[in-house]
C-alpha cells in the first residue's frame, strides 16, 4: 500500500515514511493474526450436533499477557515517534532562506525577504502561489493567514502545517531533490477550498542562483 505515497523529496520525509512503514508492518501483522485466529475459531467452533460449548469465564494469565504486550508496543511506538516529532515541529534548524506564506481565500501569497533578509523592506518580492527554494538548504516558512484557517500541504515533502489567523507559525523543510511540487490547501476554507493550490519549485544550486539574479538584478551589482 505504501507504494502509493508520492515520491519523497525532503530530509525528514524519509524518516516519516519509515515510521509509517513500521506501523504499517506492525498493524498488518496484528490484523492478519487476529483475523486468522477469528476465522479459525469460527470454523473449529461452529455449531455441531451433540457438542456443548466450553463453560469458561476467562483466563487471568492470558488477559494480563495481552494487556502487557499491547501496552509495550504502544509505548514503544510513542518513544520511537517522539524524537522525529520534536525534530520537525519543536526545533528550527539554522536557515539562510526564509519565505513568508500568507494564506487567504483562496490562494497562497508568497513573500521573499530579498537580499537584505528582512521582511517589510523595499526589496521584498511577492508572488502568488509560486514558491522557489534551493535544494539541500533548510527553508524557514513563516505561515500566516488573512482570514480563516488554511493548511499548507506539500505531499512530496511530507510537510503540513495549519495557517491560523492572528498567528505567525514557524515551520521548516529541507528539500532533497529538485523539481516542481504541488502545494494544496488541506483544511476546509470555504467554497473555493478545492483548487486552492500553488507550486513549490525546488531548484538546483545553479538554477536557484539564476532565479535570484533574475529577480534581484541590482543586488548582484551591490555584492560585487
Amino acid at each position: 500500500m505504501l507504494r502509493w505515497l508520492p515520491e519523497n523529496a525532503s530530509t525528514y520525509g524519509k524518516d516519516i515514511d519509515s515510521l509509517f512503514s513500521l506501523i504499517y508492518n506492525i498493524t498488518g501483522v496484528t490484523f492478519i493474526l487476529v483475523m486468522t485466529v477469528m476465522v479459525a475459531f469460527l470454523i473449529l467452533f461452529r455449531r455441531r450436533e451433540g457438542r456443548r460449548a466450553t463453560y469458561l469465564h476467562g483466563n487471568t494469565y492470558l488477559e494480563i499477557l495481552w494487556t502487557v504486550v499491547t501496552a509495550g508496543i504502544m509505548i514503544m511506538l510513542t518513544i520511537m515517534s517522539r524524537p522525529l516529532w520534536g525534530r520537525i515541529k519543536e526545533s528550527l534548524p539554522a536557515s539562510e532562506i526564509q519565505v513568508r506564506v500568507t494564506a487567504k481565500q483562496f490562494s497562497w501569497e508568497i513573500v521573499y525577504p530579498g537580499p537584505d533578509g528582512e521582511f517589510g523592506t523595499e526589496d521584498d518580492l511577492r508572488a502568488d502561489n509560486n514558491m522557489n527554494v534551493p535544494v539541500n538548504q533548510v527553508v524557514r516558512v513563516i505561515l500566516k493567514s488573512d482570514d480563516v484557517i488554511h493548511s499548507l500541504f506539500i505531499p512530496n515533502l511530507r510537510f503540513k502545517q495549519d495557517a491560523v489567523p492572528g498567528r505567525d507559525i514557524d515551520s521548516w523543510f529541507e528539500a532533497t531533490r529538485p523539481g516542481k511540487y504541488e502545494m494544496p490547501c488541506a483544511e476546509l476554507c470555504g467554497f473555493g477550498h478545492s483548487g486552492m493550490k500553488g507550486y513549490l519549485t525546488v531548484h538546483s544550486a545553479e538554477d536557484y542562483q539564476r532565479w535570484v539574479e533574475r529577480n534581484w538584478p541590482s543586488s548582484q551589482e551591490e555584492d560585487s
Partner: protein, 587 residues
C-alpha cells in the same frame, strides 16, 4: 441499602401496570412508555439515515465524475444544483450535513436513544425509566432539533457548509462562507439536541443506579447496560462543553463577540479545544454501545459466557476516562504547542490498550463456543473485525509525525468510517436484527437478513478500504474535485471504484428496508425468548406490555452470561431462574 431502594422503586412502578388504555395520542405520540419512545427514536434515526446516505451518494457521484449532472437530480433548484450539477458550495453543505445527520441524528438516536430506552428498563428488571415524562421530552426535543436542522436547507444562503467540526473563524462570520441562517440553525439545532441528550442521560444514570431488580448487582449487569451507563456519564460531562462552545459561536455570529475571531482579540484554536473536548468522548459515545451490543450477541450465539467480564467493564471505563484526555490528537497540525503533541500522542497510544483487551476478549468468547451464524451474529462478527481495522488504522494518526502526512487526507475518512460504520453501524444492524422480535413481537426474515448482511459487508469494504489508498496517495478530505490536482490524477480510477461500491452499498440497504417492514407486519410470531438468551428482557412477553412484566418483577440470581453451564441440561440459564443448590460434593 441499594436493594431497599430498588424494591421501593419497584413497588412504585407496580401502580403503573394498571393504567389501562391511554388513547391514541398518549400511546403513539406523546407516550411516556420507554418502549414506544425507543421506537420513536428508531424511526427518526432510520429516516435520517436515508437522508444522510443519499447525501453521501451525491458526494460520491461528484468525486467520481466531477461536475457532470447527477442522473435524476435535474429538478433540484438553483443555487443548490445547476441542472443536476453539484456546485462547490452545495458540495460543502453535503459533507457537512452528511456527517451531522449520521452522527447526531442517526447513530446517537438509535444506539443511545432507541436501544438505551428499550434495553435499560427491560434488562435491569424495571417497569419503566425513572422519569418517564422527562423521557418523552427528551425525544420531542430531539425531534424538534431534527426539524430545525432540516429547515437549514430552506433558508437563503443555504445550509451550514463549514464541516461537521465547524472550525472557527470559517463558521464564525457570514462573510467567509456566505452561509447565514443555515449555520445559525445548525448551532441552534445542536443546542436543542444536547438538551435532549442531557435529559436522556440523567434518566439513564438514575434508572440504572436506582431501579435494578432485586439481585441485579452492578457486576451482574449485561455489558450493553454497562456501556449505556458509561455513555450516559460521558454525555453528561461532555455535552455542556459543546453547548457552551456553540453558544459562543452563535454570539460571535449574531452579536460580534469575537470569542474565536482574532480581529477582535479572539482565538480560533479555542473552538477546536472546546469542540474536540466534546468531540472525542462523542466518538466513544457512538462506539461503546456497539461494543456492548457486540458482547451480548457474541456470547448468546457462541453459547458461551463472555470472556473476561470484569476486564470488559474496566476496559470500557478506561476508554471513557482516556477519551477525555486525547482530544489534542485532532490538533497535531493546528498550531497548538507541539510539546503538547507528545502528551496527546502518549494518551492516544495508551487508549489502544483497552480496545485491544476488548478485541481479545471477544476472540476468547468465540473460543470453545458452539457458534450459530444467525444474521445478528454475522453483524456482531463484522463489528469485531471492522472495529479491528478501524482501531489499527488509528495507530497511524496517533503517531504525531506520521499524522503530519495523513492528517486531513482520506486516510482519516477511511478510519472514521471503519469505526463508525464498520463498528457502530454494524453493531446497530446487529441490534436491530437481535432485538426486533422483542420490540415488535415478530421475527425478521433470516434469508433477507443474510442477503442484506453479505451485500452490505462486501460493498462497505469496497467503499472504505480503498480510501486508505487515497489517503496514502495524499488526497485531501473535503475537496470538491480531485481532478484539479496533478498529483491526484492517477488516483481517479480508485475514486470511480469507490463510487460504484457506494451505490451498491446504498442498494443493499433496500433489502433491509424490505425485510424490516415486511417482518413488521408479516414476520413469524416471536416467542418470549426468541434466541434462548439469559438476560431479563427475554423473560417478558414479546412485545412486552406496558409495565413490561405481569404482577411480579423478575428476581435475579446470577450473572447475565451463564451459557452452557454444567448446572442445567439446556445450554442457557436465565438470570431470573431459581435453582435448587446442588450438594457441595459436585464441586
Amino acid at each position: 441499602m441499594g436493594e431497599a431502594v430498588s424494591e421501593s422503586a419497584g413497588a412504585m412502578q407496580e401502580a403503573r401496570v394498571h393504567h389501562g388504555h391511554l388513547g391514541f395520542w398518549r400511546t403513539y405520540v406523546f407516550s411516556t412508555d420507554h418502549k414506544m419512545i425507543a421506537k420513536q427514536f428508531l424511526f427518526m434515526g432510520l429516516f435520517m439515515m436515508v437522508l444522510g446516505g443519499l447525501m453521501a451518494l451525491l458526494m460520491r457521484w461528484q468525486l467520481a465524475w466531477p461536475e457532470t449532472p447527477v442522473p435524476g437530480f435535474g429538478w433540484v433548484p438553483e443555487p443548490y444544483m445547476y441542472g443536476g450539477i453539484i456546485p462547490p458550495d452545495f458540495y460543502n453543505m453535503l459533507f457537512t450535513m452528511h456527517a451531522t445527520l449520521m452522527i447526531f441524528f442517526v447513530l446517537m438516536p438509535i444506539l443511545v436513544g432507541c436501544f438505551g430506552n428499550f434495553l435499560i428498563p427491560l434488562m435491569i428488571g424495571a417497569r419503566d425509566m425513572a422519569f418517564p415524562v422527562l423521557n418523552m421530552l427528551s425525544f420531542w426535543a430531539g425531534a424538534l432539533a431534527g426539524l430545525v436542522m432540516l429547515a437549514g436547507f430552506a433558508v437563503p444562503g443555504g445550509h451550514a457548509a463549514g464541516g461537521w467540526t465547524a472550525y472557527a473563524p470559517l463558521t464564525a462570520n457570514v462573510t467567509y462562507t456566505g452561509v447565514d441562517w443555515g449555520q445559525n440553525l445548525w448551532i441552534i439545532s445542536l443546542i436543542i439536541l444536547s438538551f435532549s441528550s442531557l435529559m436522556g442521560s440523567i434518566n439513564y444514570i438514575t434508572t440504572i443506579i436506582n431501579m435494578r431488580a432485586p439481585g441485579m448487582t452492578f457486576f451482574r449487569l449485561p455489558l450493553v447496560i454497562w456501556s449505556l451507563f458509561i455513555v450516559a456519564i460521558l454525555l453528561l460531562l461532555a455535552l455542556p462543553v459543546l453547548t457552551a462552545a456553540l453558544a459562543m459561536l452563535f454570539l460571535d455570529r449574531a452579536l460580534g463577540t469575537s470569542f474565536f475571531l482574532p480581529s477582535g482579540g479572539g482565538e480560533p484554536l479555542l473552538w477546536q479545544h472546546l469542540f474536540w473536548f466534546f468531540g472525542h468522548p462523542e466518538v466513544y459515545v457512538l462506539i461503546l454501545p456497539a461494543m456492548g451490543i457486540g458482547s451480548e450477541i457474541l456470547s448468546v450465539f457462541s453459547r458461551k459466557p463472555i470472556f473476561g467480564y470484569r476486564a470488559m467493564v474496566y476496559a470500557m471505563m478506561a476508554i471513557a476516562f482516556l477519551g477525555f484526555i486525547v482530544w489534542g490528537h485532532h490538533m497535531f497540525q493546528s498550531g497548538m504547542n507541539p510539546v503538547l503533541g507528545t502528551s496527546f500522542m502518549l494518551s492516544t497510544m495508551v487508549i489502544a490498550v483497552p480496545s485491544a483487551i476488548k478485541t481479545f476478549n471477544w476472540l476468547g468468547t468465540l473460543w470453545g463456543g458452539s457458534i450459530r451464524f444467525t444474521t445478528p451474529m454475522l453483524h456482531g462478527l463484522a463489528f469485531v473485525s471492522m472495529f479491528v481495522i478501524g482501531g489499527l488504522s488509528g495507530i497511524f494518526m496517533a503517531s504525531a509525525p506520521v499524522d503530519i502526512y495523513i492528517h486531513d487526507t482520506y486516510f482519516i475518512v477511511a478510519h472514521i468510517h471503519y469505526v463508525l460504520f464498520g463498528g457502530s453501524l454494524f453493531g446497530l444492524f446487529g441490534a436491530i436484527h437481535y432485538w426486533f422480535p422483542k420490540m415488535f413481537g415478530r421475527m425478521m426474515n433470516e434469508t433477507l437478513g443474510k442477503i442484506h448482511f453479505w451485500s452490505t459487508f462486501i460493498a462497505f469494504n469496497g467503499v472504505f478500504f480503498p480510501m486508505h489508498i487515497l489517503g496514502v496517495g495524499g488526497m485531501m478530505r473535503r475537496i470538491y474535485n480531485p481532478l484539479q490536482y496533478d498529483f491526484l490524477q492517477t488516483l481517479q480510477p480508485i475514486n470511480v471504484f469507490i463510487t460504484i461500491s457506494a451505490f451498491a452499498l446504498g442498494a443493499a440497504q433496500i433489502v433491509l428496508v424490505i425485510n424490516f417492514f415486511w417482518s413488521l407486519f408479516a414476520g413469524k410470531r416471536a416467542e418470549a425468548n426468541s434466541w434462548q438468551a439469559n438476560t431479563l428482557e427475554w423473560s417478558a412477553p414479546s412485545p412486552p406490555p406496558h409495565g413490561n412484566w405481569g404482577e411480579a418483577l423478575p428476581i435475579v440470581y446470577r450473572s447475565a452470561y451463564e451459557y452452557s453451564s454444567p448446572e442445567v441440561s439446556e445450554d442457557w440459564l436465565p438470570q431470573d431462574r431459581p435453582l435448587v443448590p446442588k450438594p457441595a460434593a459436585t464441586y
